[in-house]
């Protein structure tokens, strides 16, 4: 059974290659090639050989590498091809990168989510590069009539014993006919020549000249624009609508109800926007159960209730609290957060009898194709999905609600449809970071945590807690409880889901414990981590040594031991998405308010693939975290979102952005991700610094509602 499968895949591989040989249109040197814009996608016409799903080698020795995952700003479009190029052993200057469409035959896990792109694709991409390299060596060996063992490669050339050279380009056709080796050897980390360097974003030039196209920029012949009016409040149903005025607007062609929304079809974006504004809608009554004040009270009642669903229950926390020297109990509350990607939601769909074409910004293309197939009762074979560049994901576009909407509309009117959301549509559409409340209770004995009970309750949250993470293995009596409050408010994965607020609550709570124990906050954490190494309670599901490593690094880089008058510091440490982070925020006080002087971030994500990209992600997530902790909230009044645009919804601005210094632990471990991990600890480090300066604690977000004003 297994042997047969292997042969099948091998044959399929070769089949792809042979079809690829000379199978594409014109021949011109791609380095100076004009890019043809065809139906919204850029197609480079090449004379080439496709040697694997990811790699095309041209006769002139230039290489095209396909980037398989959606690009949302995490720059996997550069770092993932870098991994391939490293093992393939080509000169990066000869590489151009193309965004791959959804293609489950060629690629696995085309998902941008969970900060897992690099981590999950690391072995796959390395193998792809190494395998093609092996085919090229094999082809050269054949041509020279020597053994492959005698040969080596160097930046795009196979080199013989006596220094004779053959370019990859000249070998490509022959390479496609070689037998695919059972095993390939991968480079040793110390031999990396590309990985670990700072490599410029492959899309930089397009971005700065305005030629980089996002989903919202899609334009096709015969395309119409669609806009959807959704209920003003969650849980409300459409009763009726009056489109008379809207249909009088030149360019508005149709208005109809679809899936509890009103769709406006128009000939341009502006007309669609204006059309929507001209429609009178009547909805059912707003629901008081969806009011933020009501939900807040319910969540508080839930965390205070006894005997709830325990996800983890070790030892006996009640006994532990009775015996403890000191007991501390604190409650933390977080509001809903919209994602506010700078590119509002949009998607293109063209449904015809023959096929379904989908195109646009989505983090989960495979799931969406499946969902559209189910929704329209079509076969997945009939559906193609192209992934555009994405103006921010942050988890919003893990949900494909707008993909289904576009498909549904196009299916109904049988025209190519570009669905667009205005900022107001987007900000009020839901798919929010859920509102969540935590109650922490901990007992200290001899300055160590001897009992720990965390109870979380969140809106539509399957799990508000994170079993297995610190301090679980460091505490003998340990309980995690979680409850979900059902609501019509739709749930969204927001950058570092669950962790994005839990880390703030946990790491500020821990600081209070350290103070009671009369220990330095870093020292307190180090001792607790050491407990998990020396005498853990139960299984340890993370690596305490790596957490100790980043705490020590951040202490060193922030000069933690050296006190400076007027400079106040706060620390936090958190493990999420397989990456370890410790942060120190330094503030001064100006007119009674904090000015963030700098944030020092120490990260252990294993091998860093692109040094510049890594800094960008680590820095960006920190500032994003602090900005949202300061200002972010979406209060609902009887289910109606109270912010619709940036006039009232405050975003962190340039003048408030703190300087961030990033440091990475030198590691040989396989890489883990960076899109999210430095966000969770940021707000806590800031709040802990605030306490050092003002002796005031923060127990809820946004901080601006507690009177904090960034200087």
């Amino acid at each position: 059974m297994h042997a047969k499968d292997k042969n099948q895949s091998r044959r399929a591989f070769l089949k792809t290659s042979v079809v690829g040989t000379g199978g594409l249109m014109l021949s011109f040197n791609w380095l100076s090639a004009q890019t043809d814009t065809w139906e919204g996608k850029e197609v480079r016409a090449l004379e080439n050989v496709r040697l694997s799903g990811h790699i095309i080698i041209n006769a002139d020795n230039s290489v095209v590498i396909y980037s398989q995952n959606p690009e949302i700003g995490q720059n996997v479009k550069t770092s993932m091809p870098m991994i391939i190029a490293e093992e393939l052993d080509v000169d990066w200057n000869q590489v151009s990168v193309e965004q791959a469409d959804l293609d489950t035959e060629k690629f696995k896990r085309q998902v941008a989510g969970g900060s897992q792109s690099i981590r999950k694709s690391w072995p796959v991409l390395r193998k792809a590069g190494a395998t093609v390299r092996a085919l090229l060596i094999s082809a050269a060996a054949e041509q020279w009539g020597v053994s492959a063992i005698e040969l080596r490669t160097e930046t795009g050339y196979v080199i013989g014993k006596s220094g004779e050279k053959l370019s990859y380009g000249s070998l490509a056709e022959a390479a496609a006919k070689q037998k695919i080796p059972k095993k390939v050897s991968l480079k040793k980390a110390k031999d990396f020549s590309l990985i670990g360097k700072s490599v410029m974003n492959v899309a930089s030039r397009e971005i700065v000249t305005g030629t980089a196209k996002f989903g919202i920029d899609t334009q096709r012949e015969g395309m119409v624009y669609a806009r959807l009016l959704h209920a003003p409040g969650f849980g409300q149903k459409l009763v009726s609508f009056d489109a008379k005025q809207a249909l009088q607007i030149k360019g508005v062609t149709e208005v109809f109800e679809i899936d509890n929304k009103v769709a406006i079809i128009a000939d341009s974006t502006w007309t669609a926007i204006k059309g929507g504004e001209a429609i009178k809608t009547i909805w059912s009554k707003p629901l008081t159960s969806e009011d933020s004040k009501v939900q807040r009270k319910t969540l508080l009642d839930m965390v205070n209730a006894k005997g709830q669903n325990a996800k983890v229950n070790m030892g006996n926390v009640e006994q532990g609290f009775k015996k403890a020297d000191q007991v501390l109990e604190r409650t933390y509350e977080a509001p809903f957060l919209p994602h506010n990607c700078m590119e509002p939601m949009n998607f293109f769909a063209d449904v015809t009898d023959e096929k379904v074409e989908l195109y646009g910004p989505i983090q989960t293309p495979e799931n969406q194709r499946r969902a559209v197939a189910k929704l329209l009762k079509r076969s997945e074979d009939e559906i193609s999905l192209g992934i555009s560049r994405i103006g921010g994901g942050f988890g919003r576009r893990l949900n494909g609600d707008f993909v289904l909407e576009a498909a549904l509309i196009s299916n109904k009117i049988r025209k190519p449809v570009q669905l667009i959301y205005t900022r107001e549509d987007d900000m009020t559409a839901g798919v929010y970071r859920p509102a969540v409340t935590y109650k922490f209770k901990a007992g200290l004995t001899d300055g160590k945590i001897s009992a720990y009970d965390l109870s979380g309750a969140g809106i539509n949250m399957r799990n508000t807690v994170r079993p297995g993470t610190w301090p679980q293995a460091s505490v003998p009596n340990f309980k995690l409880e979680s409850q979900s409050l059902e609501s019509h408010v739709t749930f969204g994965y927001w950058r570092a889901p669950t962790s994005n607020f839990l880390a703030f609550a946990e790491q500020t709570f821990v600081d209070e414990l350290a103070e009671i124990a009369k220990k330095d906050p870093i020292q307190f954490r180090l001792e607790s981590l050491k407990q998990a190494i020396d005498a853990p309670f139960g299984k340890v599901r993370y690596e305490p040594l790596r957490m100790i490593g980043v705490l020590k690094l951040v202490a060193e880089k922030s000069n933690w031991e050296t006190k400076k008058k007027g400079l106040y510091r706060g620390v936090s440490a958190y493990y999420s998405h397989n990456t370890y982070v410790a942060e120190v925020v330094e503030i001064t006080i100006v007119g009674g308010q904090p000015k963030i002087e700098r944030v020092v971030v120490a990260t252990d994500c294993g091998i860093v693939v692109n040094a510049s990209g890594a800094h960008n992600q680590a820095m960006g997530a920190v500032v994003d975290g602090i900005g949202h902790a300061m200002y972010g909230e979406m209060p609902l009044e009887n289910g109606v979102p109270q912010h619709r645009n940036f006039d009232t919804y405050k975003a962190l601005r340039n003048s408030e952005a703190p300087k961030v210094e990033t440091h990475f632990v030198k590691s040989q471990k396989a890489p883990s991700g960076l899109g999210e991990p430095t966000l969770p600890p940021a707000a806590a480090a800031f709040a802990n610094a605030m306490y050092a300066a003002t002796r005031k604690r923060l127990y809820s977000q946004p901080f601006s509602e507690q009177g904090v004003v960034l200087q």
């Binding site: 030039r205 971005i207 700065v208 000249t209 502006w270 900022r423 960006g620 940036f646 975003a651």
Partner: protein, 149 residues
């Protein structure tokens, strides 16, 4: 009416109240200028009006008669304006969506003040939102561009 965009003349027949942003994007197919909010609060739609940075989402096209409009596509012929070069050199963009607006604001800022202090840069750029939070790199790039004007 006639429009002058990036040195080229266009003749359009559109409701004069249509914001310039949508004329550029939907009718002239110049999609480098982006939509972020529609109310002048995010800066993604920034273009130059006779060299001054303005929010194209908040200006009706009627006001653009006899005005030289420059969009990101026309900021330089070869993408080599000092601001663009600094942006690439310092690896500023992340998702890239807000960056055209940032660059248009920065280039206008520098044309009015060729030696801005860090404070002046921060303030001058504060009208442009970046969710990816590339702010500190943006400021570095503006500073570097000012040194290479």
């Amino acid at each position: 009416m006639d429009l002058q965009v990036n040195g080229k003349k266009y003749t359009i027949d559109i409701d004069p109240q249509t914001p310039i942003l949508w004329v550029l994007r939907d009718h002239l197919k110049l999609v480098g200028t982006k939509y972020g909010c529609g109310i002048g609060q995010c800066g993604a739609c920034t273009i130059h009006f006779n060299g001054t940075a303005v929010r194209s989402c908040s200006i009706p096209v009627a006001a653009a008669a006899n005005v030289a409009i420059t969009t990101i596509e026309g900021l330089s012929e070869k993408g080599d304006h000092p601001v663009q070069k600094a942006w690439v050199d310092l690896d500023v963009p992340q998702c890239g969506y807000c960056q055209a607006g940032q660059i248009m604001t920065a280039s206008a800022l520098l044309s009015q003040n060729n030696k801005p202090t860090e404070e002046e840069i921060k303030l001058g750029m504060s009208g442009n939102i970046c969710r990816c939070s590339t702010y500190t790199k943006i400021n570095k790039a503006v500073k570097q561009a000012s040194e290479n004007l």
